[in-house]
Amino acid sequence: MKHNLILRVVSKFLIPLIILFALYVQFHGDFGPGGGFQAGVIFSAAIILYGLVFGVDKAKRVITPYILRLLASLGVLIYAGTGVATILLGGNFLQYGVLASSQLAGQHVGILVIELGVGITVMSVMLIIFFTFAERGQAVLNSKAESERE
């Protein structure tokens, strides 16, 4: 993957647009089609495209695997934490109405927050799976080359 000039130029142009579209899908999910799941997958697709064209090592410098593991847990924590927060505020688990002054405002805040949690977890898990597969492939190739040297 060294000489794909057209791929490099086109993906450099496309990746910011894909990330922008992912954020639009994330925060516009209440009004149009989309939501956390789709946004997370689109966001991870942007990073995976970067990894496929410029190499996985460079993609790992954008988001390191350590941060990805933290983010994957953080997403679930945000979601479940919203449920616990509603209990502490006197409602049932995930009863968003108590999060703000009125039922409608609370629903809005709750849905936005849990969709954010969904998006973060989906994005980071997709990237974790991709990076793990790529790393494993690299390890297989390396050990093959090593055993040939011996």
Binding site: D30, G75, G83, I111, V122, M126, T132
Partner: protein, 195 residues
């Protein structure tokens, strides 16, 4: 009229993809055709006005799962055996063919008892759907009913789904993650180290 033409075109293309996937022996081409299959299905969902499902199908089915299948191909084959051909079948296909035909015939027979597509009197439309359609805007303030059901009415289910995805990530990390060394030909090379 135009709906019918679009439906027929999409369904024939999907059928062509399916037949090509069965006939092909090159695994790389099969993975690419899987992606095309998913993308055409997404188009079909758009025609059926299920924009959210189409979105997910296009992103996950055509995008991510194609990348993951390619990654699996790259893992399971070394560069020397790069042709990546599926092995030729060793037995005649009559038994599986018979099972598939009988199951297909039973499924088609079953569709005669199903209500028509989009029938407002179908049982699935009469359960909780009218409540969601009628009340979701006034109760949640969210214009997209799908989001209202997914995130608010069925918030607990969605928490479960997110946990499933999280678990999948952990499982992949546990099975093939980590920094351990891989020795593909340990049986063949095992004796060389002592010698």
């Amino acid at each position: 009229m135009i709906d019918n033409i679009v439906d027929i075109t999409l369904l024939s293309l999907i059928a062509i993809h399916a037949i090509a996937i069965i006939r092909m022996r090159s695994l790389f081409a099969v993975v690419m055709l899987f992606g095309g299959f998913s993308f055409l299905s997404a188009g079909l969902f758009v025609v059926m006005d299920a924009a959210d499902v189409a979105f997910t199908e296009a992103a996950v089915g055509a995008g991510i799962s194609t990348v993951l299948m390619l990654a699996t191909l790259a893992l399971t084959y070394t560069p020397e055996e790069a042709d990546k051909e599926e092995k030729a079948p060793t037995h005649k296909p009559w038994l599986p063919l018979g099972v598939v035909f009988i199951t297909g015939a039973l499924l088609i027979y079953g569709t005669y008892n199903l209500p028509g597509f989009g029938d407002p009197n179908a049982p699935s439309q009469l359960h909780v759907a009218p409540y969601y359609l009628g009340k979701s805007l006034s109760e949640t303030g969210v214009p997209n009913v799908v989001t209202a059901v997914l995130a608010s009415y069925r918030g607990f289910d969605t928490l479960g789904e997110v946990t499933v995805i999280f678990t999948a990530g952990i499982a992949v990390l546990l099975i093939i993650g980590g920094r351990r060394r891989v020795k593909p030909n340990i049986e063949k090379n095992g004796g060389d180290h002592e010698a």
